[in-house]
Symmetry: C2
Subunit: 335 residues, 2 copies
């Protein structure tokens, strides 16, 4: 970055933001703040996430484009979990001196690829040098015309369900850590799992559909793993939950990777984290119709994996109803 | 942080956000996103800033509380520069393993002291471990009921004016770097300058007043120094500017520090940066009344320091009308 300098980077960001003002952008990048217009009557949604090299990703396997994509994806997933519509993004990027303007451009290309897919406008940001590795903070602003689905809405008797499949991101991370490919794993399985980890696809359309569906109660996204995140719903709702481990939706590629490298796909699904699927609780009577209609509307499966009950803890039960210990999800500052 | 852990840090943040929901906060910290209500009809303002240890501050002299204060202050200053009302803040904080939960609490106390003073609610955030130093990203959301003052509104013939005084932050930084106190500098001058650097007071009330005043045209905040920031206004407005260096408002404490440690107070004022004063262009006929009425309304002086003209560059002129070279402000990635 020393050659291009901060002004070169700022020019790059402005170019990436596009010449045409996006809908709702009264003033975009280039002034002291963005000036934005929400849909009248809508609530404002706001979320922010920090991604740091060697904590959240490694440059050995995450390209600048992957980092840009994922930094936005994790925030879009939060908006999806409220049933909201993402509208605007602000990006703060700190780069070490050895980073190049080409790498910065790749970062914003990865970011823009996902932003365009969801109609999200880049409206502001900050750039800085970093003494060490890459750091990126993304804030996403969205809107919601109705009542967001909160974590505190779980009640005993409701079912627990997840979109898509669980454990692909954990499997992809293991492959990346082991310098893929794994012997015996088909190329397309490898690619599917690695992409699930590096370029997760936030369930924005699914979140909006589920957020408007009758019978859906609590909703959140799966970033830290089912064990941890369902624990958050239970804590906010003062309930407990049983998860039936043989119901966990696990993709064929995940099972193939587990077989190839000797992992446990159930543990990846229950504790792996970073799947960015949606986790919901819903009225039992509504579950069959919701699953059928979500699949028809979005092509995404919804799988019932457990049930809310009284108590406080999350239990993972095998086919015999026996409790199985599952690792918790990622927690920062743990030794 | 290893003892308290991430959950301890999150609990701390929730406690700092307060038990009582602030006005406009429909859902605060603890769900996937904040859910917020703006004043009907108002535009949304959004700005984000990243502060990194050993780039933006040094732990040798910036306490955790100073860092928390300043991380919010720089964003409030951006909202002030639009003439807006700050409402909500999101904070992402990454801490090295050696940081303590007490230091994190001090960070949020510094943040909260300034937030409370401006009625800003902490509504969301993120926490992470850091492989190295402290990193903090703050996003502030505000609102504006009318037409924000943009950088592109400067026209030849308008005067250039600044609030308060310039160079105090640069003087304070020199004192901190030299392990104050400087011989011959009164204690209260030292304290004033160091506070100006570590705990700048964003001109929020002044920005709202100026943003609504007749005759004010372009407005921005002074973060990178007058030379650089006036250059931004000139670039956005396709104009040039003359600055009369003997008109620059320089506090007695700044001059005393310059005398004590051998610096040039004019260079600190013109190029030092981080003063977080407001820089405006205004119609010449309106200037006397605006300055008088701003002082009456807020207690803050507005000083005319130059004039917009045709051309593109910013010139600093001495009492004889001779151009004087002034260092530009801080730029990242410069060798």
């Amino acid at each position: 970055m020393r050659q291009a300098g901060e002004l070169g980077l700022i020019r790059l960001v402005r170019r990436m933001a596009g010449a045409e003002p996006a809908p709702g952008v009264l003033t975009g990048i280039g002034d002291d703040t963005a000036v934005l217009a929400l849909t009248p009557g809508a609530s404002l949604l706001a979320t922010t996430d920090l991604l740091i090299e060697d904590v959240h990703f490694r440059r050995a396997w995450a390209s600048p484009g992957d980092i840009g994509w994922k930094a936005l994806a994790v925030n879009l997933s939060d908006v999806a979990a409220m049933g909201g519509i993402p509208r605007f993004a602000l990006v703060a990027l700190a780069l070490p001196g050895v980073a190049t303007i080409e790498e910065a451009a790749e970062f914003f290309q990865g970011f823009a690829a996902l932003a365009h897919a969801h109609g999200v406008a880049l409206v502001g940001g900050d750039t800085s040098s970093s003494p060490d590795g890459w750091m990126v903070n993304v804030t996403v602003l969205g809107e919601h015309a109705g009542r967001p689905r909160l974590r505190a809405h779980a009640r005993p008797g409701q079912l627990v369900a997840v979109t898509g499949s669980l454990g692909r991101s954990a499997a992809g991370l293991r492959l990346l850590e082991g310098c893929r490919p794994a012997a015996g794993l088909p190329d397309d399985a490898d690619a599917e799992l690695v992409a699930a980890h590096l370029r997760p696809r936030p369930r924005v359309a699914e979140g909006q559909w589920l957020g408007a569906a009758t019978g859906i109660q609590a909703m959140m996204d799966l970033s830290d793993g089912l064990a941890t995140d369902l624990g958050h719903i239970c804590a906010e709702s003062s309930v407990g939950a049983d998860v039936w481990i043989d119901r966990l939706p696990i993709a064929a590629a995940t099972r193939a990777a587990a077989a190839a490298i000797g992992g446990d796909p159930v543990r990846w699904a229950a504790g792996g984290g970073e799947d960015y699927e949606l986790l919901v609780t819903l009225d039992a009577a509504a579950a069959p119709a919701v699953a059928r209609d979500l699949a028809a509307a979005t092509g995404t499966a919804l799988t019932v994996v457990g049930q809310i009950r009284s108590g406080r803890e999350v239990a993972f039960l095998d086919a015999h109803g026996q409790s199985v210990a599952m690792g918790a999800g990622y927690e920062h500052f743990r030794d």
